[in-house]
Amino acid sequence: METLAIYASRLVTERDYFASGHRACSGCGEALALRYVCKALGRNTIISNATGCMEIVSSPLPETSWEVPWIHTLFENASAVASGIESGIKALKRKHGYTKEVKVVAMGGDGGTADIGLQSLSGALERGHDFIYVCFDNEAYMNTGIQRSSETPFGASTTTAPAGKFSMGQHTQKKNMPAIAAAHNIRYVATSCSSYPFDIMNKIEKAKQIKGPSYIHILSVCPTGWRTASNLTITMGRLAVETGIFPMYEIEDGKYTLNFDYPKLRPVEDYLKVQGRFRHLTKENTAEIQEHVLTEFNRIRLLAGKKIK
């Protein structure tokens, strides 16, 4: 079975709804994640996209990379626009006998989700609109030149939280966005990573089946902002999961499932030392990060009903 598994890529549909010729950086993990998301969503989809990397690279007017209906919104109202579209479709069904099943999807980067778009996202989740929110988390405002966001991890050096004599970069912990989404008591919340294509596609499939809001948080490797080589994009995502820095889990109707658990997590150093944005960290910083990662990972393990190792 294991030897057959390497041929699994051949089972994925060749049809892309995110066309080539987009202007993402070479080796972009976010464009990669978006490709998988669009493959899984299929053609009966309407996408409302907050400003961010994926909006800028895909829509250099008069061109577009999208092969599904797509609307560009501001940072703060991707979920509000998605709510409106979903309500509009409902009204069409009620008044004009429209029967097609269309999934409405809102997308944003970590800035458009956790910072600027949080209020409209919270409103849409609370009102219970039938839509999927996908957050592509590359851990800073990469599009405008690597400014810190609330999703930037502890210790990362960015242009607005630079490491130097008096600072070790970002001094706050990453905002726990999936937990905020889960606190709205929605039926499906999941985290995923750009290096795990089948995981992303399965989770999008699941979210598609759910009536009501669902939230998917995808860690998207950014070679430009993380200061890694562009051919290491997949490796970096795998390291983030294998070190426990980014736990991959699902919350279905309040029930936690940990998708990737390891008998022994890799030391965080493996992940940190490859990236330019963590190059300045001292041994003490690394130890602090390691401790925080273990605490957080064990918290998820407990929630998922597993024993702490």
Partner: protein
């Protein structure tokens, strides 16, 4: 009337190659000499691998009031060899000026490409940078070549800004600079009028009257017309003997440009390939190699 004593420099590079850093170094060196100087990039959604521009203005006597991009440069520096045939790098270059190119070709060979009344300086910066710095980032190397071709700033003025910018790596960068300074080949081109200037494709943008209300785009996926293939410096080559046709390369390509051919072997569409090297890195059997060149 104030005498025009300014030197204007235009840098052509790709995002990530360090054109902006080069421009900053030159400006800092000029300021170090007590001159007035500017350095700035042209702003746009330029990304790693995309062609970018950076500009310098240096004036030995007068403060610089102008703030616009450089359209009539005295010096043009090209950091990426591929750009020479791709865009019109000598656009607006003043007679008597100079063009500095990073290329593996010889100066005699390369001067066939151009016509005009200016100097051509050629240096194999990529090899120097790989050897001395370990990476293909040619910013400091090209600064060395530029100083050989023109006395924009003195070579020694570079030491302080280099140390400040690169810290522990300043030594290697200075050495790369020095090596380039010594190995740059220069020739004078005077072929005005004898050769027809080459024409370059210019992207045609619609006027505002031609746009639909709300900036709607009615043709799905029409970025397919836009080739991102010229962003790359390396491209993947498949060894079909090692290939097991698993298709992982086509799955991990962010461009979605790797598709199986009639025999089931995978190939990248080089019109879109940005040369990130992910397919080569992820291939189970290491059947893919990244080879220099577009």
């Amino acid at each position: 009337m104030i005498k025009d004593t300014s030197i204007e420099i235009r840098w052509h590079g790709r995002g990530g190659q360090g054109a902006v850093t080069s421009a900053e170094l030159i400006a800092l060196a000029a300021i170090h000499e007590g001159k007035f100087a500017q350095a700035f990039p042209s702003f746009g959604p330029e990304r790693r691998g995309a062609p970018v521009l950076a500009f310098n203005r240096i004036d030995a006597e007068n403060p610089i009031r102008i703030r616009s991009g450089v359209t009539k440069p005295d010096i043009v520096v090209v950091l990426d060899p591929g750009l020479v045939t791709l865009i019109n790098v000598t656009d607006g270059l003043k007679p008597g000026g100079c063009l500095v190119v990073n290329s593996t070709r010889t100066v005699e060979d390369l001067q066939q490409e151009f016509s005009g009344d200016w100097k051509l300086a050629v240096v194999d910066a990529a090899s120097i940078a790989r050897e001395l710095l370990g990476v293909n980032i040619v910013n400091t190397t090209m600064v060395g070549a530029l100083l050989k071709a023109s006395e924009a700033v003195k070579f020694d003025s570079l030491k302080a800004p280099l140390g400040e910018r690169f810290g522990a790596r300043a030594g290697a960068n200075f050495e790369a600079c020095m090596r380039a300074y010594n190995s740059t080949a220069i020739s004078q081109i005077t072929t005005t009028g004898t050769k027809k200037p080459k024409s370059f494709a210019v992207e045609k943008m619609p006027g505002w009257r031609e746009l639909l209300v709300g900036c709607m785009v009615t043709e799905p996926g029409n970025t397919k017309r836009f080739g991102t293939g010229d962003w790359k410096s390396q491209h993947p080559v498949w060894d079909d003997k090692k290939c097991i046709k698993c298709g992982i390369c086509s799955l991990v390509c962010p461009e979605g440009c790797i598709k199986p051919n009639n025999e089931g072997y995978y190939r990248a569409n080089l019109f879109y390939c940005k040369g990130c090297g992910m397919c080569a890195h992820e291939c189970w059997t290491q059947a893919i190699k990244m080879v220099e060149g577009t």
